[in-house]
């Protein structure tokens, strides 16, 4: 805004626009004033500008230095930051649902009698070994010796008994999956005996989840904001929906001692922010990373590793078995024929696996059922025509699902189903609304959920479940499978049941979501498989190059 000459346009007169000097001397008729005229001084704009530029430069320099990714000398880091997606709102693993809690707490902070490994098999944890009676009704667990909680309290058979009795007595979350539970007693400080009223072939697996967790009966703390367990880590800070800081548990008793002193877990709802965090070095691991965004890291193998892992996430497009139109099996089958699973998977980056039935590859009873309902639009059109609908006479159906899955799937399903004369009205709602409408009130035609739990076939054997799927044969097969004392027999029964379910088409399994994990080279020991259900971090280490 410097003053420029020519304020008044041009001078038309002959007189030159020289700066007037004469009036300045005798401008006032008051001589005493004329003597004290201020000498007009220009402000040193140039200097101010230079100073401003300098200040900005210095500030940017400081910012750049402060924010430089901490380039410490190569070597093992004592802090590793990992980025996850679904954030827990509280730490109360006994009451709050959601796999986010299982993921971060089980195996890290809380430990169960038994645990699962990367292949979804049951392995020892607090119990070093166990025996099962021949009738499958009594399980005897032999606990490790010298176990303790992070607060120093001893962990013995009494704590185990108390924890499971509390679970059953107060019906904490997941208590219902402890089918046929009879009683639990402490035989001695290191032995626990669990009795069932009838055999439950799922028992050990169930105990590897929330049901088998052991809590300190003497500790008093707010379960929502704190966690006291026996695992290799303890929660040093928890910010709801944002981050959890895990520190190595100094009182840890076992072999899974934390390899890294501090693990910071950050949660990103925005995929782009997550990717930026990995790119900028704020996190060293990202799981999951959207396959479509992983390209930039996959293309840079010198610095990053990108890998997809197996999981038990089943994207279930459920058809309401009691729905006005979806109770017609022809329509359900038509929908299954109409959906092009390969296309869905391709649009998501191609990492996911097709899934033709209710049991994913890591669960017992898995069988490739994808050829039961291959993509066949003609067949679908035929079935629709039988049911009295077609492209000229479309059937309107409503699909309701939670906004956590994005809008793309709905758009794609609408497009695919439009070809066979289904006008799909897609409603993307909040999870709580979905819970109310679909899960609780069963008021829906189609619903889409990622059922990420493992061993969850019971859903199809429960006529009260929101699927409204009631097949006594399936229910009987599942009951037999539960009662089986032999794993092979159990798997066979489940296989039969799964095939039956898939044939009935109470739902379409869009795909088995495989989690893509990306990490900075030098990170070791981060589980790739099943890392959205349980994420043991004790072995996680980062050796920077």
């Amino acid at each position: 805004m410097a003053e420029q000459p020519g304020a008044h346009g041009r001078t038309g007169a002959t007189s030159s626009p020289t700066a007037p000097a004469s009036p300045t001397n005798e401008a006032s008729t008051d001589a005493s004033l004329n003597a004290r005229v201020k000498t007009p001084h220009r402000r040193p704009w140039a200097w101010i500008a230079v100073a401003a530029v300098a200040v900005v430069a210095v500030v940017i320099g400081i910012i750049a230095i402060v924010n430089r990714p901490a380039t410490q000398q190569a070597g093992r880091r004592d802090t590793v930051t990992i980025g996850l997606k679904l954030a827990p709102t509280n730490l109360d693993i006994r009451n709050q649902s959601g796999s986010a809690l299982d993921q971060i707490l089980i195996g890290n902070v809380y430990e169960g009698l038994v645990a699962r490994d990367e292949n979804n098999q049951v392995v020892p944890a607090l119990a070093a070994s166990w025996e099962e009676s021949a009738d499958g009704l009594t399980y005897t667990f032999h606990l490790n010796e010298g176990m303790s909680f992070s607060n120093g309290d001893e962990l013995n058979a009494d704590d185990v008994v108390w924890s499971i009795q509390e679970l059953v007595g107060k019906q904490y979350h997941d208590a219902s999956s402890l089918t046929n539970f009879g009683s639990i007693t402490a035989v001695d400080p290191n032995t626990v005996e669990l009795r069932l009223s009838a055999p439950n072939s799922n028992l050990l697996w169930t105990l590897a989840g929330r049901c088998g967790l052991v809590f300190d009966q003497d500790a008093e703390y707010d379960m929502k904001t704190e966690a006291i367990g026996s695992g290799p880590y303890l929660v040093s800070e928890f910010r709801a929906n944002d981050s959890i800081t895990l520190k190595a548990n100094p009182n840890y008793w076992g072999e899974h001692r934390a390899a890294t002193e501090t693990v910071v877990v950050r949660y990103f709802t925005d995929d782009n922010a997550a990717v930026n965090a990995l790119a900028s070095g704020d996190v060293q691991v990202l799981a999951p990373i959207s396959e479509n965004l992983a390209g930039q890291f996959a293309d840079d193998p010198d610095h990053y590793t990108v890998q997809a892992g197996d999981g038990t996430d089943k994207y279930v497009l459920a058809f309401n078995g009691a729905g006005e139109h979806t109770s017609d099996p022809r329509i359900r089958q038509a929908i299954r024929y109409a959906i092009d699973h390969e296309e869905l998977i391709a649009s998501r980056g191609g990492a996911d696996a097709p899934l033709g039935g209710p049991i994913p590859s890591l669960d017992p009873g898995y069988e490739d059922l994808t050829d039961l309902y291959p993509h066949d639009v003609d067949k679908a059109l035929e079935l629709m025509a039988e049911a009295g609908y077609g492209p000229d006479n479309p059937l309107t159906l409503r699909l309701e699902y939670s906004n956590t899955y994005g809008t793309d799937l709905g758009d794609q399903l609408r497009s695919q189903l439009a070809q066979i004369g289904i006008d799909l009205q897609v409603e993307v709602v909040e999870f709580s609304t979905w819970l109310q409408d679909v899960y609780t009130n069963k008021d829906y035609d189609l619903s889409l959920v990622d059922h990420n739990e493992s061993h969850d076939f019971y859903q199809w054997a429960d006529p009260e479940y929101y699927y409204n799927y009631d097949n006594p044969e399936v229910q009987s097969l599942y009951a037999q499978a539960l009662a089986a004392t032999d794993d092979a027999a159990r798997d066979d029964l489940l296989r039969q049941a799964a095939r039956m379910v898939s044939e009935d088409a109470p739902a379409d399994w869009l795909f088995n979501y495989r989690i893509t994990t990306a990490w900075v080279n030098g990170v070791e020991g981060f589980p790739v498989n099943l890392n959205q259900t349980q994420l043991p971090l004790w072995n996680l280490a980062y050796e920077s190059e």
Partner: protein
Amino acid sequence: MRFVLRRLLLFVVALLAISVAVFAMLRVLPGDVAAVMAGVNSPPERVAQLRAELGLDRPLAVQYLDWCANLLHGDLGASMLTGRSVSEQVGVRASITFPLITLGLLVALVIGIPLGCAATLARGHRARAAYRLVSIVGGAIPALWSGMLLILLFGRGVGLIGVLPSQGFPAAGWGAPVQALTSLVLPALSVGIIVGAGLMRYTRSALGELAASGYIEMAMSCGMTRTQAVRQVGLRLAMPQMVSVVGLTFAEMITGVMVIENLFALPGLGTGLVTDVGNRDLIAVQGELFMLAAFFLLIGLLVDLAHRALDPRLKASIGGNEVSA
């Protein structure tokens, strides 16, 4: 004095009205926090049990009065989901959001007012058209988009000149002041540019009106240049109006701020509110909405008071609403 009392009374009445409205609206919503806690693998009995534990099965009026009673003690209750006290939770989130808004506003002021002055003083058709274009285009960019563009430019690890963090807030919060501040720079720029463009427009029009007025001529006739007069007298005279505009902007900025917080993964009030509404954590939402509303009402009150303090013509009059036009 009477004016202040009246405004305060209004403030209290408005708060009360808002509390009832928020409560009533939230309680008739479908879905509840117990169902969210129970998740998709729990039998209905478990939901009922949780409802009872959380006290959601009591009559609405009882719940409301209970909440009001606690409110009188300055207790907004504890979030059903996180178990933390709502006031503490809001405080933690506000410690990100309000600095963000303030920084954004600062950016807006730094951009808007000088550019507005320059636009007023610009000579020639072309210069003025250019300024106008800047202000209009600047105000027409969606926050989402400008935020993204800024990340592409300056985001550390992804940007062309990647020097600034583009996501998250340091775990230590304001305990690490430099990191905290730098993590707010890009978000603040994103919101600030848009608001700044609006402010520039407003400054220009307010000053433009004043520039042709006798006040500027008078100041010039006393010996100021036009630039000096516009900056010293014009800005000062525009200030009462500007304060009102900035006050309203402050409230309206929260929209952009919510988007920006999501984009930059900042755990502030915006992201918190969206999550809590989604989880039907009614106690928390109620508390947050109430505090936000109270805050914005307070801003409104302060703006009105500042407006009066800045304009001696209003200060003198009584029951000023008749004149504040």
